[in-house]
Symmetry: C2
Subunit: 326 residues, 2 copies
Amino acid sequence: MNHTQEVVSLILAGDVRTAARLMRDLDDGAAGAREILKEIYRHSGRAHIIGITGSPGVGKSTLTDRLIQYLRQEGKTVGVVCVDPTSPFSGGAILGDRIRMQRHALDEGVFIRSLATRGHFGGLTASARAVITVLDAMGKDYILVETVGVGQDEVEIAATAYTTLVVTVPGMGDDIQAIKAGILEVADILVVNKADRDGASRTYQELMQMLELRTLRKDRSWKPPVLMTQAKDHLGIEELMAAVKEHREFLAQDGGQALQRARASRVRQEFLELLKEGIFRHLLAQMAADGRLERIIDDILAKRSDPYSASEDLVLSILGPVEPSA
Amino acid sequence: MNHTQEVVSLILAGDVRTAARLMRDLDDGAAGAREILKEIYRHSGRAHIIGITGSPGVGKSTLTDRLIQYLRQEGKTVGVVCVDPTSPFSGGAILGDRIRMQRHALDEGVFIRSLATRGHFGGLTASARAVITVLDAMGKDYILVETVGVGQDEVEIAATAYTTLVVTVPGMGDDIQAIKAGILEVADILVVNKADRDGASRTYQELMQMLELRTLRKDRSWKPPVLMTQAKDHLGIEELMAAVKEHREFLAQDGGQALQRARASRVRQEFLELLKEGIFRHLLAQMAADGRLERIIDDILAKRSDPYSASEDLVLSILGPVEPSA
């Protein structure tokens, strides 16, 4: 058995240290790491991926913590990917939270990986997907993907989960607006956390109204429920997990057509992200090697060209025109 | 004079309505808009671009508002680009702020453009750069670029300004950490806003220490000053603008070598962002037209391939290997 095969076997057996090393190697662009990822990719696709997104301060990480606890009590194994600079999982929140999270570090059934900066893949999204693939291949039953709903990329990572939770809190009029602006449409389940706060029922009403008004992107036959939680006090977690399972069953019904669509959508996004980054990097390496890049920059600085014309001309010279299908 | 020439002339003359229409057209990908952008690009490069970034809640938009006021009192014209979902300029903050900002809407010398979602260019960064080009060609003396320092893209937009302000507030230990994590290195000037709060002098000390410890990316001969402001109370704004002007003079000294470097760095980033997006879009259009994309997705779903191998193979087949320079 060669080294790659050995690492693949260990990952598939759920070995924590091997997985952690692979994730680091992937971020560093270490030789061979990508080959291992290719091998284990074919063994992924079994975990139920749950996206958790929302503005900073809505309590996403406490909610994530409670979901981990709940799933562990059920005997499920859990992987966590955190792309949220405000989360204690990423070391971004107050010290107390961070310490609280660390108890899971002693639990072999939980694997937490935080992503704060771009790794070798060039984007947080691609790094997050690679980590999800590793956790999935490790055999985790559930993968929780916590992302802060600020940047569009972060929202997209959560949105390509099989079940996406959008978390808000009462009394943040702006939050509702932010949700209006695009986050709502990726929600499979809406969560009003900190539901003991004033205005919880109004927030609930507003969300219900919005849901009535708009058709949803992902699958129109699923009507997202709105759930109230108080994650800090462990309230509403069971009901939330029941909704997650209901959504999972919804995806699996009718021979799993909805799940197949969700999977195809994940694969498409994953491939296109890798292609976008990959073709750009390769081209950049070529242009740096043959001096084309410096010539173009000089031309633009001397106003002999502009970035728009220069990039268009280059693309056309490489790819040729787009031919309509026959 | 054809339509393009007419629009170009109006933009160069600073016509607000034409500029606003062009920005909308650019976002929508309207025919001809990009051609106009190419024309006016060659007339850009005169404005002093100031980036303003920092975590949500540090008062970036109040500071921006005060800088606008200050520059207008000096008789300077100002363009503002806002890529910050938490800013009142983007309609993201509380109503009072938003109304306060609108007074500038009546001032012909100020042009404010908010970007909340990706336009035709495919990325907020590219959209922001296009807006900056239009404002620059309009003849604005200063362009303020307000971005929330959460995502790496947002930080980068601000970082490619000629003078980048990184704003923080006292007593946010995490904020300092966030700055440590990468924002500090893009700062030409550090601002401790809300300096009447407890802990302001400690924050000041901490920032000074950090500055001592690290060499700075942009230009090592410039040592970023740390300034205290209370933007809400109009305190420290004059001193801040004095520091901005000092940095501008620094860039212009010795025949403007530092400014030339900053310009080349802007152009390089701008070109590469357009190239990255452009080559991907073009390839995607080709692959959709000839059915390649669906075949690849099917192969991955059937586990005959994986996204990593599929994207690598495709890139290599299009671009060929990277040849080392002769």
